[in-house]
């Protein structure tokens, strides 16, 4: 009898119907860290396989969007860019926004996209959304190179651009965008795993959110009627700080940035918990 009670404690894995909401198995995630890097590598390599230009294609999207925005918002609509060179102003917003939006949309379909793998083999499911965020970080990094090229060009040709100490907040901004995209994406993924309806609204919702963020216009030019919505949108302080640090223009305040950061942490924590909850039963409902 004694030996069996000793044995009871030696089980490595216990499979049970329900588990605590807060049991996140983070040590398991850590054990699978190699998988994270390999998934990131897969995403990156498979993107440019059989292309001639390779990773240069990452430049295309922000470049075209910048050209279109410059044409429509600046030239046609005549919206102010806070006195900044127009392409630089738009590219700053677009590059940062794209990172957040990619994290959000990709994470929100993580169950649907990986149903075949999730249905066949166990690994900590959190690895998948994490790998999405890191994969997009690689893409974001490449796109930042384009932004820096443009930045150097405009500063050397005497554009109204002043890089300042607030640019050092950049890592914090990246972390915040990653966590916000991840958290919101995971919440949506959890909701859509059973009720697919929400999935149809995502693309539309992300676009709407972009116009509620200061991507195509500065906060100083935000319309009075929507000012509150725009200013309290957690993405707005991020993009404003980004512009302020690298370009020297924008509405920066520590208060709004901290508020947005706290909100981000809440979203991320809630996202991880709800994701873990849904992940356990997802295979049966998908």
């Amino acid at each position: 009898m004694n030996s069996s009670t000793v044995q009871e404690e030696l089980w490595d894995i216990e499979i049970e119907p329900h588990s605590s909401l807060f049991k996140l198995n983070l040590q398991d995630v850590w054990r699978y860290r190699d998988l994270l890097w390999l998934l990131v590598k897969r995403d990156f390599v498979s993107f440019y396989k059989q292309t001639v230009l390779g990773p240069l294609w990452f430049f295309l999207q922000p470049l075209f969007t910048t050209i279109i925005f410059t044409f429509i918002f600046s030239n046609l609509a005549g919206i102010s860019t806070d006195g900044l060179p127009q392409p630089l102003f738009y590219m700053a917003g677009i590059t940062a926004w794209n990172y957040f939006a990619d994290c959000l949309t990709k994470t929100s379909t993580v169950f649907k996209d990986n149903a075949s793998i999730f249905g066949k083999v166990y690994f900590p499911r959190l690895i998948m959304p994490f790998s999405i965020v890191v994969s997009n970080l690689v893409k974001f990094g490449v796109q930042m190179i384009l932004f820096f090229i443009l930045l150097i060009y405009y500063s050397s040709t005497g554009g109204n651009v002043h890089v300042n100490a607030y640019a050092l907040l950049f890592p914090v901004l990246v972390l915040e965008m990653a966590l916000l995209g991840l958290g919101a994406g995971m919440i949506i993924s959890a909701l859509t795993s059973k009720y697919r309806d929400l999935a149809f609204l995502i693309t539309f919702g992300v676009q709407l959110l972009m116009y509620a963020t200061t991507v195509a216009y500065p906060l100083s030019a935000a319309p009075e009627r929507f000012y509150a919505v725009i200013a309290y949108n957690p993405m707005t302080p991020i993009i404003e700080t980004f512009r302020y640090g690298f370009l020297g223009q924008g509405s920066f305040s520590f208060l709004s940035l901290s508020m947005s950061f706290v909100f981000t942490l809440l979203v991320a924590a809630f996202g991880i918990i709800i994701f873990n909850k849904v992940e356990r039963g997802f295979v049966d409902t998908v």
Partner: protein, 424 residues
């Protein structure tokens, strides 16, 4: 011997019909029941998983009150008809899905192969996919690097290792995928019917590898298959599942024979209703039975005993120039022997409308194993009824050579009387 897997009271319920439409109200009801600490109202009305009977409720128990434990180092075969709950059990063990009630305790790392090549990306090279797939299955990068050469040589794809796997033949693809999984470092290996893919040679090397894993490395193996032959050769123990419950557990030979008996009873009368047949079908095979020397039907043939194969057929006319041919295949589909009533000294005599055609053996010439028969009835050169895979049958080890010894190094082979001598 210590217990590697302990399963207590395991049940799994599935919801039938559509999920996600009109279920919000039910979900709320469920949630409310749980909040009050009551039992889930939708699980109470569940019933056994018999897919042939239309049930009254929307919930079906794919597994119900499963209770068993597996010792370390055992190779256990899990058998049962489609829908018996085999795959559900493996899925829960692999932690792909969760049980509805009950608990499983496991000692050691589990590697499960519910499918070969999970997560393979067609654009990536063989090398990149080995790393990716290995990591998905739970290996560290270091570990994969250490075993890389072994994996590549087991798969036999040295030349193609830096080619994207989308250019691989399907055989190469499967070999590579199995090789990765077979080289996992784990204490428990779970394999679900993956050997159904790939050619005969590959299947043999997979079985060999699994045998090696279970017998020489002392690892625990759980194996689901419809191939009784490979279960018999690989596993000492067996568990027979039926409608989500354990019908029998014990030695694999015992369990297999229980299964085959139940299965053959289910098959009786089925043969005549099969649609995958060709020929004029004026006469049809209705049953194929093995009789022993006393004329009693047997479920399993014993190697080397006096046995007859009896082909029952039904029709409305007599056949005056009949010919019956059949071929016996082993589990991998290789033909072993061919029998043709026109080749023997006395051909078949004319057939009545319905009857039995018997082919008798003084000593049944097959070793222990699992076999399939293709059979065709011909009259005057016209095919009357032709069935591929007409029946599957099991042969048990026997005393073919009358020496008390039997072939043990191989299964599924034909045996021949012969004599040895030394010429000086």
């Amino acid at each position: 011997m210590s217990v590697a897997i302990k399963i207590e009271n395991l049940s799994k319920a599935y919801q039938l019909g559509e999920i996600g439409t009109g279920t919000l109200a039910w979900d709320l009801e469920r949630w409310f029941a749980r909040v009050r600490g009551k039992e889930d109202p939708f699980l109470k009305i569940g019933e056994a998983n018999d897919r042939t009977v239309k049930g009254g409720s929307n919930i079906v128990w794919s597994l119900k009150d499963i209770d068993f434990s597996i010792n370390q180092g055992d190779a256990v075969g899990i058998i049962g008809r489609n829908g018996a709950g085999k795959s559900t059990l493996l899925k829960i063990l692999s932690r792909v899905t969760t049980p509805t009630t009950g608990k499983i305790k496991v000692k050691g790392r589990i590697a499960s192969l519910l499918e070969v090549g999970t997560g393979f990306h067609p654009e990536l090279t063989g090398r990149e996919n080995i790393y990716l797939n290995g990591a998905i299955l739970g290996m560290r990068k270091m570990e994969i690097t250490r075993k890389f050469d072994e994996i590549v040589s087991f798969a036999g794809v040295e030349r193609y290792i830096d080619t994207p796997v989308k250019r691989y033949s399907s055989g190469m693809y499967v070999r590579l995928a199995f090789a990765v999984a077979a080289h996992l470092d784990c204490e428990i290996l779970i394999v679900d019917e993956v050997l159904a893919v790939g050619d005969a040679e590959f299947q043999k090397s997979c079985l060999g590898k699994m045998e090696d894993v279970s017998k020489n490395n002392g690892r625990t193996v759980l194996f689901v298959s419809h191939n009784m032959g490979s279960i018999a050769s690989l596993c000492e123990k067996g568990i027979l599942l039926s409608k989500g419950r354990i019908e029998k557990s014990g030695s694999s030979a015992e369990v297999i024979s229980t299964y085959l008996k139940a299965h053959q009873v289910g098959n009786q009368g089925d043969l005549i209703n099969r649609l995958d047949r060709s020929g004029t079908q004026s006469h049809k095979f209705s049953d194929i039975l093995f009789f022993d020397h006393l004329g009693n039907p047997v479920q399993q043939v014993i190697s080397g005993t006096e046995t007859s194969i009896n082909f029952f057929y039904q029709g409305n006319t007599a056949l005056d120039r009949p010919q019956l041919k059949f071929t016996i295949y082993n589990r991998t589909g290789q033909p072993l022997s061919h029998f043709d009533s026109n080749l023997t000294v006395t051909p078949l005599s004319p057939l009545p409308n319905s009857g039995i055609i018997r082919c008798a053996f003084n000593k049944f010439p097959l070793s222990s194993g699992f076999y399939t028969i293709n059979v065709v009835l011909v009259n005057d050169g016209v095919v009357i009824d032709y069935l591929i895979g007409a029946i599957n049958f099991n042969v048990l080890s026997g005393n073919f050579f009358q020496s008390g010894k039997d072939v043990t190094v191989m299964e599924d082979i034909s045996l021949h009387d012969h004599n040895w001598s030394v010429i000086k």
